[in-house]
């Protein structure tokens, strides 16, 4: 194993209530590009966070260049030359390229407090030249394209003499030609002996750059393969190959007779292209795809939160214009946001106010005076019906668990008696018991004749809950599947492969 200059052996990591990594091993050679594959939530990010010192493993060891190492902080990992480039860049948009590369490690005269601008500038130029980049050191980062910003991140990694570079979904936001230049730089790094860990969902693209691939699933190590010899279909099977658990509560099959929503040629420049689909009464329609495929963007467009450039939205057979959120709500569309803390709840305020948020017009008289008693009764009724666990209605929402917070927002739309509900990642970050309750709630809603569009990155959940599934990729609907022909493989195929 001498050619493995980095080994992670039998890593286990537990979070409260979750086994995030179970006995995972991973190794990296000098000068190779090693792809790390797996569904969302497979544990890739957790593994890389352990490698870069963000988390500490509960069990297992990391051996780097022959020595056993322990990282107490990202800085420790960085000192040894292990750098990670996150999906969201850690750059300061208002500072220049040069300042960004050496932020916190500025060149100083006599190592004291006066900046040595010429020396730093020279060093930056050298790095940029090494990467063959035509970026001026004095350019502000906000003036750069996304791809260029990524290059700055890479330059930053090189400036600390990175021996291991982890790239998390580096091509997610890049155009074709930008990807080319990223690959060029990656190959350059390879030649210089850097080990690159490359996290991506784009299997075909990986064939151009990856030497080996390690597949993870549900926090477990599955296999490591040579990319040259492997079949992509095998990779997909390895990524998803698991039987559905029976945790999804059954509901009677729905009968498609009444279309409540029909979307025709919906378009939003650069974001959504030619979206066509329909939603039936009592249906749970899944919206699958990888992160960044445009699912949330589609939800926001339907909800009037983002403008659309063209296309038609028909509600109950009537052409409807949805110009803003208020119109959408008026027409009976509700949106459970992806990020409940940032976009869903007024965290510091009470459970009652959060449930009633947006419902006050119906619970007040014509002078705008709140009917407090009715508010309280309705909130209490919903708290009971949805089994929201809270000591009392005046409890601040932030003191509740994630699952209960999610139920508060559902209660808000239930209170409004909304007909079409868009659930964006409704079970993200909540425990299994609470997930089940959310599923049951969804079943109860559709049984009452409501219709649900469910966005989820968890394939089993989509398969277990939805009557039909739309798979999105780069802003368009790549495929539609029904219960008969939907499988994790077929979804992943639509989500990752070009037509």
């Amino acid at each position: 194993m001498s050619d493995h200059f980095l080994q992670m052996n039998n890593i286990t990591k537990r979070f409260p209530g979750v086994l995030a990594l179970s006995n995972v091993s991973f190794n990296l050679r000098r000068g190779e590009v090693h792809a790390l594959l797996g569904e969302n939530g497979a544990g890739k990010s957790t593994l890389m966070k352990i490698l870069s010192g963000v988390y500490r493993p509960d069990e297992g060891e990391i051996i780097f260049e022959g020595n056993k190492v322990k990282f107490d902080s990202p800085l420790d990992a960085q000192k040894l030359g292990i750098t990670i480039i996150h999906q969201e860049f850690n750059l300061f948009p208002d500072l220049t390229v040069e300042e960004n590369i050496y932020i916190g490690r500025e060149f100083c005269k006599n190592n004291r407090w006066r900046l040595d601008v010429p020396a730093q500038r020279a060093s930056v130029k050298e790095i940029l030249a090494k990467l063959n980049l035509k970026i001026k050191p004095e350019t502000r980062v906000s003036d750069l394209t996304v791809a260029q910003q990524q290059m700055v991140e890479i330059a930053k990694a090189i400036s600390v003499n990175a021996k291991v570079l982890v790239m998390d979904e580096p091509t997610a936001a890049l155009t074709e030609s930008e990807i080319d230049s990223l690959f060029r730089v990656t190959r350059l790094l390879k030649e210089q002996g850097t080990g690159v860990v490359y996290i991506s969902h784009r299997l075909e693209e990986l064939a151009l750059i990856a030497d080996r691939a390690t597949v993870m699933r549900d926090g477990q190590y599955i296999d490591t393969v040579d990319y040259e010899t492997v079949q992509i279909s095998d990779l997909i099977t390895k990524m998803v190959g698991r039987k559905l658990g029976d945790i999804y509560p059954r509901r009677p099959p729905f009968t498609a007779d009444k279309k409540v929503l029909e979307v025709k040629n919906l378009q939003r420049k650069g974001v959504l292209h030619d979206i066509n689909f329909s939603l039936h009464q009592g249906e749970v329609l899944g919206l699958s795809g990888l992160m960044g495929a445009g699912r949330t963007e589609l939800a926001r467009a339907l909800f009037g939160a983002d403008p659309i450039d063209s296309g038609e939205i028909w509600l109950n057979g009537e052409l409807t214009k949805i110009g803003d959120v208020h119109q959408a709500i008026e027409k009976g569309i509700g949106y459970l946001t992806e990020d409940r803390k940032k976009e869903g709840l007024a965290l510091g305020l009470s459970v009652e106010l959060n449930i009633m948020l947006g419902n006050f017009p119906e619970y007040s008289d014509k002078f705008g005076i709140v009917k407090e008693k009715q508010c309280e009764e309705t909130s209490q009724k919903l708290v009971n019906a949805l089994r929201i666990k809270t000591p009392h209605l005046q409890q601040a929402a932030l003191n509740l668990s994630g699952g209960n917070q999610q139920k508060i927002i559902i209660a808000r739309w239930v209170c409004k008696d909304t007909d079409i509900l868009i659930f964006d990642e409704p079970t993200r970050g909540i425990d299994v018991g609470a997930k089940l309750e959310i599923y049951e709630l969804m079943n109860r809603l559709v049984a009452k004749g409501k219709s649900i569009i469910m966005i989820s990155s968890e394939l089993p959940e989509i398969l277990g809950m939805c009557d039909r599934i739309l798979v999105m990729r780069s802003g368009h609907i790549a495929g539609e599947l029904n219960q008969a022909n939907a499988s994790q493989e077929s979804i992943m195929k639509y989500a990752t492969l070009e037509d």
């Binding site: 409260p16 209530g17 909800f303 939160a305 959120v325 208020h326 709500i329 949106y335 946001t337 940032k342 976009e343 869903g344 709840l345 007024a346 965290l347 510091g348 305020l349 106010l353 009633m356 948020l357 947006g358 006050f360 017009p361 007040s364 002078f367 705008g368 005076i369 709140v370 407090e372 666990k389 809270t390 000591p391 409890q395 601040a396 932030l398 003191n399 509740l400 668990s401 994630g402 699952g403 209960n404 808000r412 425990d431 018991g433 609470a434």
Partner: protein, 327 residues
């Protein structure tokens, strides 16, 4: 399960709750302590006449502070109050100089404040200028307009003997009218905040604007309302001030906005938004004027009084951060 209530942690919870309650009552305790302290330090402090004087001195800033409490709960700020308070006095004076009926002068003065508030609201919502900048701009411009309209001179109400009675008279010969106005306005403002839809929206917008928008609240309207409301109250304060001075003074009110904001902050309203009460603001305003009055009676110089005020504001905000840490 991570659900918040398991029997084991319940006692901890109640203890924390009590501590939180204690913190919330801190401004009231401070006020009581101050009153007790000054009562012992000066023989002239604790009597009806002096208490009424303190209340009278609190009324103008207090009314403005109530208005800006609304703004601050939505996590906004209004720096234009000091200029607007003078503006409304000047408008009353101008109307008077055209010999309009007294009632018209008074209403015009109040609406002048409301108009300034509306402008703030539109700048913040439609033009999406940060509240700090928008209201700073208005603070400067309105001060200039005051000067332009009056040539920098005060306008006296010699033809309106009744006008000064608005502020200088006393209800039942005891309670100065401005204190009465402050009371009424405080009650109404607290009622709006607690009992009406718009009141709930004010908290919701301040707590999480995005969530409020996505749940169908017309956030922009709420914001325009709070700035307009704040302006209107400032207009009322301006009329009272003009009546007390018996003149429209273009230069009056410099720095009042900061005193009002200080009162709000001392009263436990968070500049981050979503948290705050009118009661707290009133207590905050009284803490400041009790401090001023008491130190005066003790013969402490004006300059040291300013130092004391600053310390009180900082201490109050420090309490606020402590309170947040406890959550």
């Amino acid at each position: 399960m991570t659900d918040s209530l398991t029997p084991t942690n319940q006692p901890v919870k109640t203890r924390r709750l009590n501590k939180a309650l204690l913190m919330r009552l801190a401004p009231l305790f401070s006020l009581v302590l101050l009153v007790i302290f000054f009562s012992f330090s000066s023989p002239f402090f604790f009597n009806t006449e002096n208490i009424m004087t303190i209340a009278l001195q609190t009324s103008v800033i207090g009314i403005m502070a109530i208005g800006v409490t609304y703004v601050i709960i939505t996590s906004g700020i209004d720096l234009s109050l000091g200029s607007v308070v003078a503006f409304s006095g000047v408008v009353v004076g101008l109307c008077a100089s055209y010999s309009m009926p007294l009632i018209v002068c008074v209403v015009a003065g109040m609406l002048a404040g409301g108009l300034c508030g509306c402008i703030n609201g539109f700048l913040v919502t439609r033009a999406t200028i940060p509240p700090f900048i928008a209201t700073l701009g208005l603070m400067m411009s309105v001060r200039g307009i005051n000067m332009v309209m009056t040539d920098g001179r005060a306008i006296y109400f010699s033809d309106y003997p009744m006008f000064k009675m608005l502020a200088q008279g006393r209800l039942f010969d005891v309670l100065p009218y401005p204190v009465f106005y402050l009371l009424i306005i405080a009650l109404v403002a607290a009622w709006i905040l607690k009992k009406t839809v718009i009141g709930r929206y004010v908290y919701a917008v301040g707590s999480n604007e995005v969530a409020a928008h996505l749940s169908g609240i017309k956030v922009q309207r709420v914001k325009i309302f709070v700035y307009a409301f704040c302006g209107l109250l400032t207009g009322i304060a301006g009329v009272i001030l003009a009546s007390r001075l018996n003149s429209g003074q273009p230069t009056v009110g410099v720095g009042y906005e900061l005193e009002a904001i200080a009162a709000v902050v001392i009263g436990g309203t968070s500049l981050m938004g979503g948290v705050g009460t009118i009661g707290g603001t009133i207590i905050g305003a009284f803490i400041m004027s009790v401090l001023k009055n008491g130190l005066n009676l003790m013969g402490v110089s004006q300059f040291w009084q300013m130092v004391a005020m600053g310390i009180v504001v900082i201490a109050a905000v420090y309490l606020d951060t402590l309170r947040k840490k406890m959550r």
